[in-house]
Amino acid sequence: MQIVIAEDAALVRAGLTEVLARCGHEVVAAVGDAESLRAAIAQHRPDIAVVDVRMPPSYTDEGLRAAIALRRDHPDLALLVFSQYIETRYTADLLGTASPRGAAGVGYLLKDRVADVGEFLDALNRVAAGGTALDPEVVTQLIGASRRTDGLRSLTTREREVLALMAQGHSNGAIAASLVISDRAVEKHVGNIFTKLGLPPSDTYHRRVLAVLRYLES
């Protein structure tokens, strides 16, 4: 997999490069600011970009804005965004610009997650494959922000847990393992969620994405 890394802290940048290289990925560019990120994407056309939200010069949300712009300009580019903090507004901005075709994956993770190489690579692969990877913290906030929505309110606690894991980008199997229930039970919950959120039967993956997006509309 060809990867571009944008991260302003040199130590973390080097660490990420090392981790990815060890796992057989090709880091085609590792840059420290948004401008270089845009240039590197245009030049290398990677499969996925790993972007830190805070970058120079103002260290607020340069990375995020760059990521949103990239999503517009390169709809096929998968994006994994890292942040020291999860801000609800940033989540909405990033996921609200889901590419029209819904083909390219997107992830938004707390920076801590790179500390766990296995988890990080798992998220990376999911996003590269066109899926989503949302930090549990992101999901907590989204649920917090969406408690007023009727559709979501009608979900049971268990269904909400399933939806939360779904939003993080986990497959049914992973959700079953995580909640210690059977695959069959997960499928049942997922079906209920789709029904309660009023998602028409169609391609299952597409409905999963829509269910996640339902959080954001609230």
């Binding site: 130590l11 660490g15 981790v19 805070r54 609800t88 507004r89 920076k111 801590d112 790179v114 766990d116």
Partner: protein, 431 residues
């Protein structure tokens, strides 16, 4: 009798002489100050047509202050009148800040006013002191001087030939003496009037400022201190992010890699397998601690300065309400951003109030409103809980009220038993 003696002694007192000397020395100083002020102001007005006027004024502010200082020093040394200096000049950062602070420096404008108004006073003082002292002295000594003049200017024979004719002249000369004495006795008092006038100008214009201005000055300084500390907290947060947090994440990544490596190897003997297992456990423990440290650091940094505040109070409040333990709704309408320090105070107030809602109110729902009212930021946190919130001494709300007072903020609480609780905080848009 005492009064007469006192009157007679006045011209001989040291104070009178000091005042006389002061008045004499003042004139050249006053002329220099007047000329400097008038010339520089005229130059500035003329050159403002080519934009450099303000710059010129800004360049010359120390001159006005320094000249005022010379006058204060003179009064202090000659008369022993201590006139305190005005507040020291406060420089704002950046070239524009420097120009602005130099031009708006009240003390140097007051110094200019003093330097201009002082000239007529100094001229009057010079004339009054000159006429009274010199006139008085020459009057008193006139007979003596004229006798000496006669003696020296007329040939000895002529003087001897007119001994009687000189008698009325001498008598007339003697009449000048009381006139001179009166002038001499009045001299210290007249001089003192002028010196007093100068002193009034001095305390009004180049001394420390009056109370209201002092209050304004202190308010400015407080705003500066508040903004400064907000900026410092922001810097600390950024340093933590760039430094310790990044380093901890790098450490955690290395540990994670080490774990993978260890996991992939198998010991040749049972012993080495056991030590490998121990190493694995140690690495796992280290990784766990590192992760906790990263989370702790993040909470610490967020407590110092939530980075989302850089993006605006509404962004930061959006996350705050989404994370709230009690479902909370945010209504934000902030077309104008308050100063960073005010945003930070408002944010921490909202955080504290939401925590209170979760802890004490038993509410099922809370609302956070942040509205811009001209000149004010109004923050309102309401809940549908049990009510009964009070500002007890030492309680959380009292601490909040105290914190608000540092920037002239206000808090009003409406929390009848049974609820609902509405706490409204009003902050000036700028500290």
């Amino acid at each position: 009798m005492d009064g007469v003696l006192w009157l007679l002694r006045e011209p001989l007192r040291r104070r009178s002489w000091a005042e006389f000397k002061y008045v004499i020395v003042s004139l050249p100083v006053a002329i220099a100050g007047f000329t400097f002020t008038v010339v520089t102001c005229v130059l500035a007005v003329v050159s403002s047509a080519v934009v450099v006027g303000p710059l010129l004024l800004a360049l010359l502010w120390p001159g006005a202050r320094r000249m005022a200082a010379v006058s204060r020093d003179l009064a202090n040394r000659q008369l022993g009148i201590p006139v305190a200096s005005p507040a020291p000049f406060r420089l704002q950062p950046g070239i524009m800040g420097w120009i602005r602070s130099a031009i708006t420096d009240a003390a140097s404008w007051r110094a200019r006013a003093y330097l201009v108004l002082r000239l007529p006073v100094a001229v009057a003082g010079y004339l009054v002191a000159g006429w009274t002292w010199v006139g008085g002295l020459s009057g008193v000594t006139y007979p003596l001087r004229s006798a000496i003049l006669l003696q020296t200017h007329l040939p000895g024979a002529a003087a001897a030939a007119r001994p009687i004719a000189s008698l009325p002249v001498v008598a007339g000369n003697l009449l000048v003496v009381p006139l001179g004495a009166v002038l001499l006795l009045a001299a210290p008092w007249l001089t003192r009037v002028v010196v007093g006038l100068d002193q009034v100008l001095m305390t009004r214009l180049i001394g420390p400022v009056a109370l209201t201005e002092r209050v304004r000055d202190l308010e400015q300084k407080r705003a500066h201190a508040v903004d400064d500390s907000a900026a410092r907290l922001r810097r600390i947060e950024r340093d933590l992010h760039d430094g310790a947090q990044a380093q901890m994440i790098a450490v955690a990544m290395k540990l994670s890699l080490a774990r993978q490596d260890l996991d992939g190897t198998a010991g040749a003997t049972n012993e080495s397998q056991a030590s490998l297992q121990r190493a694995l456990e140690l690495v796992d423990a280290a990784r766990g601690i590192t992760k906790e440290a990263i989370a702790d650091l993040r909470d610490l940094a967020r407590g110092i300065h939530p980075p989302a505040l850089d993006h605006g109070l509404d962004t930061a409040l959006a996350t705050l309400t989404a994370r709230s333990a009690v479902p909370a709704q945010l209504v934000a309408d902030l077309p104008e951003r308050p100063s960073a320090a005010i945003e930070a105070i408002a944010y921490f107030c909202a955080a504290e109030l939401l925590t209170n809602v979760a802890k004490h109110s038993g509410a099922r729902h809370a609302t956070v409103e942040a509205l811009h009212v001209p000149g004010l930021l109004r923050l309102r946190v309401s809940d549908d809980g049990v009510g009964g919130a009070r500002t007890d001494r030492g309680g959380g709300l009292a601490g909040l009220a105290q914190r608000l007072r540092t920037v002239d903020g206000r808090m009003t609480i409406s929390s009848p038993p049974g609820g609902p609780t509405v706490i409204t905080i009003e902050l000036p848009s700028h500290a």
